[in-house]
């Protein structure tokens, strides 16, 4: 886990994803877009970081060690400091059933990783943060 300041005075993005290859690329991409990016490799570290660092938006994987993304999201929403953080779930097609179940309990967007180009993901995140603040 590490923080990188961005020159752009940009929004804060937290990437919670255990697959290092994916989170590395997302970090590069969003940093080059002027975001301030932090990463966490499991749900437990992600929750801690989200509550203390207060990102504007969070990309959240579902299948992760220690605490899965949906449990983390649930705990985040229970906390007053986590209530308003925007969340985009990153999933694999195989997790979509779980996502549908979870959507009943909290409002968020989700993207199926393998169906999306990374540029679309950047657009989606930008739209989220520009609408949020």
């Amino acid at each position: 886990m590490s923080d990188n300041g961005a020159a752009n005075g940009g929004k804060k993005l937290l990437i919670v994803e255990d697959e290092r290859a994916l989170s590395d690329l997302l970090r590069d991409k969003f940093e080059s877009e002027g975001f301030e990016v932090a990463t966490a490799g499991d749900g437990m570290a992600g929750l801690e970081k989200a509550l203390s660092w207060q990102p504007d938006v969070m990309l959240l994987d579902i299948v992760m060690p220690k605490m899965d993304g949906l449990t983390m999201l649930h705990k985040l929403r229970e906390d007053s400091k986590g209530k308003n953080i925007q969340v985009i779930l990153l999933t694999n097609l195989s997790d979509t059933q779980k996502v549908y179940e979870a959507m009943a309990s909290g409002v968020f967007d989700y993207l199926v990783k393998s169906n999306w180009e990374i540029d679309d993901l950047v657009k989606e995140v930008k739209a989220k943060v520009s609408g949020a603040k």
Partner: protein, 446 residues
Amino acid sequence: MSADLEAYKKWLAGRLSELAPVFAKAAIGNFDSQVEVPEQEDELTEFFVGVQIILDTIREKVGELETSLEQVKAASEIIATEKARVEAILDSIGEGLVIVDESQHVTFVNEFVTELFGEHSRILGQDVASVITLQDEKGANITSAHHPVAQAIKHGRRMSFNLAKGAPYYVRLPSGLVRRLSINISPILRGGKVGGAAVVLYDITEESNMDRTKSEIISIASHQLRTPLTAVRWYVKALMSDKALSAAQRQKYLQEIHDANHHMVTLVDSLLSVSRIDLGTLNAKPQAVDFMTALQEVIKELQPQIEARKLTVKVNSNPALKPLFIDPDALGIILQNLLSNAVRYSPDGKEISVLAQQRAKDAVIEVRDQGVGIPAAEQPKIFGKLFRASNAQRLAPDGSGLGLYITKAMVTQAGGEISFDSHEKHGTNFYVIIPSSIAKRSKGAA
């Protein structure tokens, strides 16, 4: 007068005594005698003729009876031959056949059925539910009322319980083996009423195992190939479209694509191994293999993870260790699985040690770690396919649950053995015994 009577009696006795040999023969079943009728008629002529007619008639009837008897004998021989032929045919078919009467008592079973459910004497005449004993998937007995044959007879219609309909019936053999059955039941109708049923049993164990293997493989492949496929897609896209990437970034991205590809190849190889193990087509080419060379290769491959996790790997190999007699790929897979598990499930900074020593005609290899260990309750299952210990699942949710299953199959195929001891939170030691090439020289070790 009395002298006349005496003479008459004598004469009568004399005449009748002529018949004695005829009757004696008839008494033992010979009716061929000819009664001599004197030319001159007397009081007995009619009687003698009568006896002759009776003899002739009996002879004729006996002849007819003998002919019929022969015909009956010939017919029953034909029937016996036919019966034997039909039974041989019914025994030789690969399916079980059970015939029951209207009260659900078994009247016929073929050999397939006796092999699964016991001897004829135990089965014939008994209630079908009590001798064709079925169980559900979990091993609970199917009660008489729920027995498929009882159901079909009750409803008076054809019923089939095949794979497409879930094939819910199993039979547990005395050996402990469990076979899965597909069952077809056709009621036998007599005068519009159910007069029994013909039950055909199919052993679909292999078929359903294959079916399961296929769907498991498809499921694992679709789950676990997805992440590396996404990584490749995203990195390739970035390389194609991000003009601002530095040379170092480009290099790193190519490395990521390479690693993701390697990961996929490894996974596909594992899936292929599993499918070969399950379908019985695992084809090993054993030869003399140097243990240290194989081990160093695996350690080299794991080096990045070992360094990232600050783990120490100690290797202690007895110089007297003989080459192993095993398929080199299989040895690579065994060591790769055991060591990558040790790496994956060890906390940072711990030690992993590999020991190898010669014991008689075998090599004994130990892989010891100080990792999370395997919970005692889950230890009996660790070589099962798709099994993952609960603590391992928490630590690394994306494992395939195939590694130890494949490892055990590979060790077993090499004629070796694998065992372990483990304490949760303290670590696990795996012991692998593999025959040395000396013991197998006759089989063409290189």
